[in-house]
């Protein structure tokens, strides 16, 4: 085929590709733009028929009013503490578990791996009640005796918010797949050089699976930041409530304060967007690698 024809076909292909990607990007970004614009609209503009994209009057005060409606600084702090704790614990423990399942030979490892895969298939909502009961009857906490009776266990404490969701079987599975792909020679060379197993995990193998760490960290942070039901179920005190529960003050059975809800949601979304922008290269790489396996 002549080079000119190949080049023209290539160029046409690129144009179609970019047009398609632009269209998809627009579709993806429209809800965010709508959220941003709604957050600065007055109730009249929100109810306008036909709907208007831009407000006739820019109500930036919605942000201040939304922040005044509830202790959002406390909610944001709580969400951050929980999300950061989950991220650190998940990355640390799940990577160790994934490494052990991928690289160490021990009796029952296949069975344990199968158990992790099996755990992936349990629907989240069927686990809520058993987890709640474990938290509530936790021995020697919250006034409980050794049999877990007499008090409230971990309910309405940081323990209940952090421990139950700290490590996910999906993360263990993802780390295992990454560690599995590393060449065995590296591990053997390190072992011959006298490095301990912990040293091989931390200094040799882990630096090579950075995308897995970024992927798990981002997914964990995002999941924890957006969690609504579990924090609502295990807390009573306003001082322990999280940002997603806080946002519900704008949505009651009979009314939704759309402008405030959108202003609050915009603020709650910002940390996620920033985190994604920072880690997007590794994040995409992580998914691509996991997908290939």
């Amino acid at each position: 085929m002549p080079p000119v024809e190949t080049s023209a076909r290539f160029r046409t292909g690129r144009i179609v590709l970019y047009l398609t990607l632009t269209a998809i990007s627009l579709v993806m970004i429209v809800p965010f733009v709508w959220m941003l614009l709604t957050s600065v609209k007055t109730p009249g503009d929100i109810a306008a028929v036909p709907p208007r994209l831009f407000p006739t009057e820019w109500a930036f005060g919605n942000y201040a009013d939304a922040l005044r409606a509830a202790p959002f600084a406390t909610y944001a702090r709580n969400s951050f503490v929980i999300a950061a704790s989950h991220t650190v614990l998940n990355v640390l423990i799940a990577s160790m578990a994934g490494y052990a399942l991928a690289r160490l030979r021990f009796r029952g490892s296949s069975l344990i791996f199968l158990a992790f895969v099996g755990a992936l298939m349990i629907p989240t909502y069927t686990k809520i009640l058993p987890e709640f009961l474990i938290v509530r009857f936790m021995p020697l906490f919250g006034g409980n005796d050794i049999t877990g009776q007499g008090g409230t266990g971990w309910l309405d404490t940081w323990w209940a918010l952090i421990i139950p969701g700290a490590v996910s079987p999906f993360s263990v599975f993802l780390f295992r797949q990454f560690y599995l792909d590393l060449p065995v020679e590296l591990e053997e060379a390190a072992r011959l050089d006298g490095l301990s197993e912990l040293g091989i995990y931390a200094r040799i193998m882990t630096p090579l699976v950075k995308p897995a760490f970024i992927t798990v960290a981002l997914l964990t942070f995002e999941g924890s930041w957006n969690n609504f039901l579990w924090p609502l179920l295990v807390t009573k005190s306003d001082s322990l409530r999280v940002i997603q529960v806080g946002l519900s003050v704008f949505r009651t059975e009979n009314d939704t304060q759309w402008a405030f809800l959108m202003a609050g949601t915009t603020l709650a979304t910002v940390p996620m967007v920033v985190l994604f922008l920072i880690g997007q290269r590794y994040f995409v790489q992580g998914f691509a690698t996991a997908g290939i396996k």
Partner: protein, 428 residues
């Protein structure tokens, strides 16, 4: 069968409730009396004050007033939404930590009273104020009073007076035949034949509550008095659902013409001429489309076919049977059931006060939909009526929807729902 978050939790939870109420060391005396000193720290679980203005009202006005009357009682509030209330109660029960005072929806008393997790209240509380019999019905189970009504939310038909006048229609429909005819006259299509305005929008409220309103207007019932027999699967129940299919077939209604709670409704937008509504629409109109009220363009009426009927939902306040401070909990229930607590609570939500004594209040007089509802409380009917209600209610909408989207006939959907309900009742 479709599994939803709620159905899974309800199934798991109600199974655990029996064990929790029977075995938990902390559940205490299952029918603790309210004798003894009015003191202690009690917890209140509420889906009624979860909004920002609600919190200000509860913590800034109501609870301080309660504290003044009961200085030795401290109330710890656990706010939740109606969407998560069942999960909150279910997990609390399973964990043996039922809140001392809980606010529940209409229809919720029989399931929880049946499990003995609520304490009966003295019957004279039902005579303290002027209550419509229909309003107290859902507070009772097995002949005993278990809760006091706070606020009610009724389902009425709202309509655009200007669109009626434009079509030469002088009065709202008196029965379904008229409703169907008027819907046809009021519907409009654009040049391509696509609907631009529906004559009737029954789908902007929850399909379960909408169908129940039509069932009651057709003189039907959900269950028998004992709550053991399904009654909605007769002709009256099928006709109620069939009407939705008929108006869709007439091209005077469309399932895609609906608005979510809080969004400008199809009625406000002029995309429907009649719409099934919650009475709280008045407050929404005042905020979003005040000109419609100012120019008297919106009216409301009670749905009627064989009988006039209005579905009554709402929130009631009850005391836990396992409260360690039963007297304090009962004092809070009684306080929440007074007109002084009910009026501001109804006002902040645009709801109907649960006592007739407030009929002459400025709030009721100045809210057209609330006034209409309160004047017609004798026509109110409640959902529920069986101890298996929590399980059944989750299945109604999804089952009826199959008929509305054309996957089944109305009779098939109602029969399926009846079978699911019978199974749920048989498990009691």
């Amino acid at each position: 069968m479709e599994y939803t978050r709620r159905s899974v939790l309800t199934a798991l939870g109600l199974g655990a409730v029996a064990a929790a109420t029977g075995c938990s060391a902390s559940s205490g005396n299952s029918q603790a009396t309210a004798d003894g000193p009015v003191e202690g720290e009690i917890s209140l679980l509420t889906p009624l004050f979860e909004g920002s203005t609600g919190k200000d009202l509860l913590e800034g006005k109501l609870l301080p007033a309660f504290k003044q009357k009961n200085p030795n009682v401290t109330v710890k509030v656990d706010y939740t939404t109606y969407a998560a209330l069942n999960e909150k109660i279910t997990t609390s029960l399973a964990g043996g930590l039922m809140p001392d005072v809980v606010m529940l929806g209409v229809g919720w008393i029989p399931p929880f009273a049946h499990k003995k997790v609520l304490a009966p209240l003295p019957d004279d509380l039902a005579k303290r104020y002027e209550y419509e019999d229909r309003v107290l019905e859902p507070s009772r189970y097995d002949g005993k009073l278990y809760a006091l009504p706070m606020v009610l939310d009724t389902r009425i038909v709202t309509y655009r007076k200007d669109l009626f006048a434009e079509a030469g229609i002088k009065a709202p429909p008196k029965d379904w035949a008229e409703l169907r005819e008027m819907s046809k006259e009021l519907a409009r299509s654009d040049s391509s034949g696509k609907l631009s305005r529906v004559g009737f929008d029954p789908f902007s409220i929850d399909l379960r509550q909408c169908w129940e309103t039509f069932l009651f207007a057709n003189d039907g019932n959900l269950f028998d008095d004992s709550g053991q027999q399904v009654k909605f699967n007769d002709d009256r129940g099928v006709e109620a659902l069939q009407l939705f299919l008929d108006v869709i077939k007439d091209k005077s209604a469309d399932y895609s013409f609906k608005s979510s709670a809080g969004q400008p409704t199809t009625l406000q937008q002029g995309r429907s001429a009649m719409m099934m509504s919650n009475n709280s629409l008045w407050v929404q109109l005042k905020k979003q489309s005040p000109e419609l009220l100012k120019e008297d363009k919106v009216g409301a009426f009670i749905l009627a076919n064989k009988v006039p009927a209005m579905l009554q939902g709402g929130t009631m306040v009850a005391r836990s049977a396992s409260s360690k401070h039963a007297a304090a909990a009962q004092a809070l229930v009684e306080f929440m059931g007074t007109p002084e607590s009910i009026l501001p609570t109804a006002e902040q939500r645009g709801s109907v006060p649960g006592v007739q004594d407030l009929r002459t209040s400025d709030y009721v007089k100045n809210n057209g939909f609330v006034k209409l509802a309160l004047d017609n409380m004798s026509k109110a009917r409640s959902e529920g009526g069986t101890a298996a209600w929590m399980e059944i209610r989750e299945k109604i909408k999804t089952t009826l929807e199959t008929a509305v989207v054309g996957k089944r006939t109305a009779k098939e959907a109602i029969d399926e729902l009846a079978n699911l309900s019978k199974e749920a009742i048989s498990r009691l």
